[in-house]
Amino acid sequence: MKNFFFTILIFNSILFSQEKNHLTNDSLFSPYNIKRFADFLYCQKDYLRAADEYVRYLGLIPNDTIEFKIALSYSLMNNYDEAAKRFNSIKESSSFYQPAQIQFLKSLFQSGNYVQFRNKYSHGTPLNDSNDCGGVASLYMFSFLLTDEPLPNEDEFLMKFPALEKIQMKSFYDWKKNPPEKSSIIAAIFSTIIPGMGKIYTHDYSDGIFAFISTLGAGYLAYDNFKAGHNFRGWIFTGLTAGFYGGNIYGSAAAAQIYNAHIRFDFINDLETYLEDNNYFLKIFNFCK
């Protein structure tokens, strides 16, 4: 019996050696130490584990700064859907309500949820984001450049941007209003008139030249074989000529579509780079002093 109690005692002292009172700062898992550890992780940019520790802390002591930091952690990890959800859950009574709402809208924008972003911005409470670098009002207008919805008129669009940005924004606006796209029909017509011309129209110069050479080359071989009385070979080359000619007309129409996809891709890239370079999503909150 003595051995039994002795064993129990040893087990207990090993298992619960670290478990003192949860509420004293001596315990590793006291709220104070959890927060210190979470702050450390946050400042080390280990946002995933920091968010976990902040959630653990929040389970013990409610705190709106911590709620904001959790949301910020998700935002800094580019998990914008979760960040938006967390920012939006911060209550109106909190001193972080205004910045949280601004970050909520920015997170919606960054997650690509432009329709919801515009709805929330238009119907939500007015925000005082004058101190916020890259205002939400500018992002609201920016969102029209990233979707296929009709643009607002030019004056209304440019009004939301600071004077320094107006020239660049006007060029983006003009691009979106009249994108320098190529027409598939015109490309096909050009290639019908002169083989390869449609490819040159879509800036695929060497493709156009090779299409011209192959069509003309096959056509000449067909003509030459017919002239020499080799009718079978003549018909083979006639078929090839027709294939190259038709294929080039078809390919020119497709090339125009690919060209348009290419310039749209570059435009979106330029917009994203512009937003990045102009600190639209800069996190101005410094919790790591």
Binding site: M1, N3, F4, T7, S184, D204, Y205, S206, D207, I209, F210, A211, S214, G243, F244, G246, G247, N248, I249, Y250, G251, A253, A254, Q257, I258, N260, A261, H262, R264, F265
Partner: protein
Amino acid sequence: MKNNQFIFTIILSFALFISFNSFAQTDWVKWGKADFSYQIKNPVEQRNYSFDLSNPERLVLKSLANAYWFFISDVDGDNCAFNPTCSNFFIQSVEKTNIVQGFLMFFDRFTRDMDIFGKLNHYPRVPDGHFYDPPSLYLLDIHFINYIPPSVIVKNE
């Protein structure tokens, strides 16, 4: 006293037995011998020479492609600059569209394949160095066009 010790030993042994079995490692597959080969995959071996008997049009085209693969391409080697290769592009084009459109797509691809100057800055590449040029870009439907810049290496074709 001896009796108590015996009971305690039994209980302890039972507890140990239960815990060993409860927490025993079960994911042996993870730690098993990996069946891994360092041989470079030969695209010829991956070719599907089977015939599709579902419709005569497909049967004729697949026979042509199989004949080309067997008598010309397999002997000539892996020389097409593109992925999918021109013959595979042709088969996929016909599968995705129809025979006329498939032929037009093939001739366009064949012309682009002859262009020895324009490929470098025009197509992205797959890890083995071939230019990635799927038929989905040429279906004349903008919804299927997923533009990939030439600087990108396409890993999941």
